[in-house]
Point group: C2
Chain length 380, copies 2
């Protein structure tokens, strides 16, 4: 809880960044953001990028400047942190349960435009009560399970019953459907991803039929992630994309076979964990100062950037072992290595600061920005 | 980076704790601490518990009050946070590499008693220079690789060369050996753990021979963890135990077959992640609000406390799926469940606050304390 010092100062050369550090290649991130904005414009629909990836009000503002209608969050605390940083339109693309959280959600609804998802009928009255007490207005999307087998009501007529209940309350507004298929993002082949999203699309249309028959309009049909957004975007069904990882790209996404008819945008790795070789006493391995507390290894270990023959293995809490193939160059003791996180979102959540580097990978590389991870630890 | 609100207030009933929350059963933790103090006293050696588990100056002070000589940390930033909270004697049981970190380490050496490990010859002069510039005195232990295949010099005469180099500098003091075998803690059978620590012991004695022949005394021969400390403690070789997890115990430790001749102390699970059922739309599963950002799943998923037939699966960043066996009671929507983390240390690092509960598990259960996780995120 003591403030964690930033690992670098603005203007410092790359070599002076202390480790472990969460480093952004600013040029690559900006190219990723521009590329997504261009693609979304071509699709002719909205984007509301997921801020659970970056947890940063500054990055959210850049996304809005490039045309995003707002951002998504997963948690009330995340939305609080981003609203405090100036974000004016947030959809909590998730269910929020518990009286304390509902009060906080409603309080946000007095300050900014706020939306939330439901998949439990009783929750609607609880939401309405919190909104009424606070005098807030809350957009409510009904989440449907489009294949992720996590949250959401079953596709079909059930959502219409929810929409009707939402419509009963003055302080709530039926905002549409949340139709996100998370696990489809990481299916490895284009054909698998296409099949998953086509099934999700049938789930949405099966739900829209009864809604429209009952006179309900869906302002928002939200969903899609970095791995599948071209499919949802071209479907004619979804109208608001929620991709988040595209700004950074993680090592796991790099394992996707990424070619939807040669049209897939090439997002670049833009986020790295910088680590130092802190021990080099063995022949075929070195040890770096970044373990489980500096990298989330839930989706595989990080790759070692531009260092063929080096592989990250056997992390412990504060160490990672880098094995060195017979034909590879062994890193020197004290040398710094760039790791591409296996999974960006929970890795970002381990850090208090981003170190933004301009001219990354060149001898001119310098720290241009040090940004707080505003919603780090905002899990409630 | 915005301050994260504590999930409960002191005095609140258990039912009012917001989720996800890191909850301590204070009675169980105190029993664990008393049991370890009693065992260490019987062994007749010192304990310097590892604070990488709890990252809390308050808990460190309780350990010292029960006889600990100080604590271990893994990182300079961790030591800074605990020193700021009043801890007066810290061994960084790890290598510290980089000029900025060495300056901070030396600055700590002006305030408290500080020790650190080395396994690289060139590092000794760098440490001495930082200590000299600051006017600090630093104890330096030579780490030897006793089987963990991570950091450390090879057992045998190499450590003597290091001790002689350390002895050359006024501001450094040769403090002894760091001889920790991390992976041995989680070998499943007593026989496997015994064999690993016996091999580690041979590595230590192979190193002590040359050291003693050269006239060096080891004030400290440090090592051991919760899974093996009885073996090191009875060896006659180690004189300072570094166990840390015993205060909390995680789900992975519960998988160890724990019977060294019937003598093994029964440490209790004392740390939990409290989570809320936020979605319950499926028959045989519910979804809780604690995923990768609220639990470190590197050593297996959490178990669900006292709820047979419930199992945590398929975590995503902010969700965990709890499957419900056919003969088990399905948790209700909005119900709170206690999860025993698979791995306590990196899970603690995800939280800003501990919620300490007295009379845990009874109808009288109340929040007695809300403690900061002082060194949360202190990875540098």
């Amino acid at each position: 809880m003591m403030s964690v010092l930033p690992p670098a100062e603005i203007g410092a050369p790359f070599s002076e960044i202390d480790t472990p550090a969460l480093v952004i290649d600013l040029d690559a991130m900006e190219r990723n953001m521009a590329l997504m904005a261009e693609r979304v414009k071509a699709l002719g629909i909205r984007i509301r990028p997921h801020a659970k990836t970056h947890k940063s009000a500054i990055i959210a503002a850049k996304q809005v400047a490039l045309g995003a209608v707002g951002v998504c969050c997963q948690k009330v605390a995340e939305a609080e942190a981003l609203a405090a940083g100036g974000v004016r339109d947030i959809l909590i693309s998730n269910e929020v349960v518990g009286a304390r959280k509902l009060r906080r959600l409603a309080a946000l609804g007095r300050q900014i435009r706020i939306g939330v998802c439901v998949d439990e009928f009783a929750q609607i009255a609880a939401l309405a009560e919190a909104a009424r007490e606070t005098g807030a207005r809350i957009d409510v999307l009904v989440e449907i399970d489009v294949g992720g087998r996590r949250c959401g009501v079953a596709p079909g007529p059930e959502a219409t019953r929810f929409a009707a209940e939402i419509a009963r309350y003055d302080h709530l507004r039926f905002g549409g459907l949340q139709a996100y298929h998370g696990s489809a993002q990481h299916l490895r082949t284009p054909a698998e991803r296409l099949a998953a999203i086509e099934a999700a699309q049938r789930a949405v249309t099966d739900t829209l039929g009864p809604l429209e028959a009952a006179g309900f309009t869906c302002d928002t049909i939200g969903g899609a992630g970095t791995g599948t957004f071209l499919i949802e975007g071209a479907s004619g069904v979804w109208n608001e994309l929620q991709a988040g990882s595209y700004i950074f790209m993680d090592a796991d996404y790099a394992k996707n076979v990424s070619d939807e008819g040669g049209n897939a945008p090439r997002f670049e790795h833009a986020l790295f964990v910088l680590a130092t070789v802190m021990s080099a006493t063995s022949e075929a391995q070195v040890v770096v100062d970044a373990g489980h507390k500096a990298l989330s290894n839930d989706s595989g270990f990080p790759s070692v950037w531009l260092r063929p023959g080096l592989a990250y293995h056997r992390p412990s809490d504060e160490h990672g072992v880098i094995t060195v193939a017979a034909d590879a160059v062994k890193p020197a003791w004290g040398e710094k290595l760039l790791l591409v996180p296996g999974h960006c979102d929970p890795t970002v959540n381990l850090y208090d600061w981003y170190v933004g580097v301009r001219d990354f990978g060149t001898p001119r590389a310098r720290v241009e920005t040090v940004w707080p991870v505003d919603a780090r630890g905002a899990t409630s």
